[in-house]
Amino acid sequence: MAFVQNLPFISIILSLFSGPLSSILSGKWAKRLNLAVITLIGAFSVLVLTFVLQTGEPFVYFMGHFPAPWGNEIRVGVLEAFMAVFFCVIMLLSMIGGSREREIEIEESKQNLYYIMVDLLLCSLLALIYTNDLFTAYVFVEINTISACGLIMIKQNGRTIEAATRYMIMSLLGSGMLLLGICFLYDLTGHLLMSNIKEQVQILAVTGQYHTPLFIALGLMAIGLAIKSALFPFHAWLPDAYGYSTVSSAAILSSLVSKGYIFLLVKIFYRVIGFNVVCDSKVINVLFVFGIIGMLMGSISAIKEKDIRRMIAFSSVAQIGYIYMGFGLGTEAAVVASVYHILSHAATKSLLFVAASGLTDASDGSGKFYDLTGAGYRNKIAGIAFTVGSLSMVGIPMFSGFISKLLFSQAAMGHDMKMLPTLIALAISTVLNAVYFMKTVITIYMPATGKVNMREGRVIPIKEQPVKAIALIFFIVLNILLGLSSEPVVNLIRIGLEMFD
């Protein structure tokens, strides 16, 4: 077997061990290590991706030389590899973009702990992406949760701890349901490896035995992961967690952690249950309804927000809603759209968080819109970046958001019942997005002159925060790239989904 096939496992292990390693390093070195690891793993994943594309078929990697159904496996297809690459890129950029805030907000002694958390997070994400074993998935879900919690609470103030607690409670509920679902499946099929479970499930579906338990299991897993990824009614923890944690945490949490869970859900749909079975179930209708409500409610509460970070946080509730709405449509095209939206939202949302931090720097650390007036002039690059992000969120052509909107609505067209609701919901939520994002853009480009008792922000030239500027520029490029040349990406996703079964 080719050497490349070891790389996924190696990258998981690498990130896993770099964590404990950085506990004995100083903050500065831990940071360097962490960045190096992320870059390295990104490179690995690129190799893997190219390899898989060449061979044109997924490969399976046994761990500890037990063959299925006993052994534990890693399975790599195009989509997995691509996700790994993308996650690494986003994580890298978010780390770079938020580095300055971290140095300010995290006390010196805890610097390296932060990087432990990030390493573990990366490890768990990779594992979630690659693993072929449900129970392993569960374990890494928990690791993911714990490290995410660490990322939130690393910035020591009441807000973050409270947020972390809420986050923990919610995600524990979620993982509990997930675990129960897995147990049900195991009870029904007697397997833990996804591929084997699927065979059994297909048989059950055909014969029609254990109909109810099967769908209970599916429901449990879907709802559990939905809770963990903050689908609408379960989003109470989200605004605090994203709004008050340090920037790179917020960026990573919003764009990667929740996406990791969603990706796991996709895998469960395709690799564990089988998409045809999922589509027959009522579960997707539930997801659809909550997705649509989420799209609207998220935006509405974002409109009411006074603080830019919390506003962005609420907007990600809405975006998660988009993704679940896509699942709810229950067609191949819709899932493609959802996966694409995972990407575009990951890119855009982290961009927005970093840009927002740039703007708040330029207005004396306050995130209130009142103080942000004219920040776009004071911190040029951040202003431009924020504008780009907003346009993409509103779905203006040539930005990534437009493409996902396009894909969603094209997918909806294929559907009789859900077509008009979806389209109209999309339109309305576009308007809502416009309302709060464009309002912000206008505010930051409105000159601050003549304002009384406003904290006067100071001008922040690019040379003062070169790193952040670079990160922002990369984000912008990534965003426009996704917007302009979406075709290859979409094709990748299609191939990947086909490789799933």
Partner: protein
């Protein structure tokens, strides 16, 4: 839904009931400690369920004492392994929760989450 069936595998039913109790506690309790207890009940219920599934009447635990006997002698080992893993996970999670609770208590001198949120709101003002 015939209840004979339900009675027949009552342990499963018990596990489910326990899970429900734990879940609702974790969700609805105001007091953080009680929440954590709920969490543990929930996890334990799941492990009970797993162990139940692994168990086969009239067989021994899959521990080799005097030479390997035929596979029929042992119960299914995998669930037990899963349970062990799960326990580890839940222990770590519980620890984390507890540490969080302690921090919050130090800050706000209460275990009531809503209380804490109220105080936070005050902080903003």
């Amino acid at each position: 839904m015939d209840f004979a069936n339900l009675l027949h595998n009552y342990p499963g039913a018990v596990a489910m009931v326990l899970f429900g109790i734990g879940f609702s506690n974790l969700l609805l309790q105001k007091n953080l400690i009680k929440k954590i207890i709920g969490l543990n009940i929930m996890d334990t219920a799941v492990y009970l369920f797993l162990a139940l599934k692994g168990y086969i009447d009239g067989r021994k635990a899959p521990v080799v004492v005097d030479g390997v006997q035929s596979v029929e002698a042992y119960i299914n080992p995998i669930p037990s392994g899963l349970v062990l893993t799960g326990i580890v996970v839940s222990v770590s999670v519980t620890a984390l929760m507890l540490s969080l609770t302690i921090r919050l208590y130090h800050r706000y001198h209460t275990l009531d989450l809503d209380e804490i949120s109220a105080q936070l709101k005050k902080e903003d003002k």
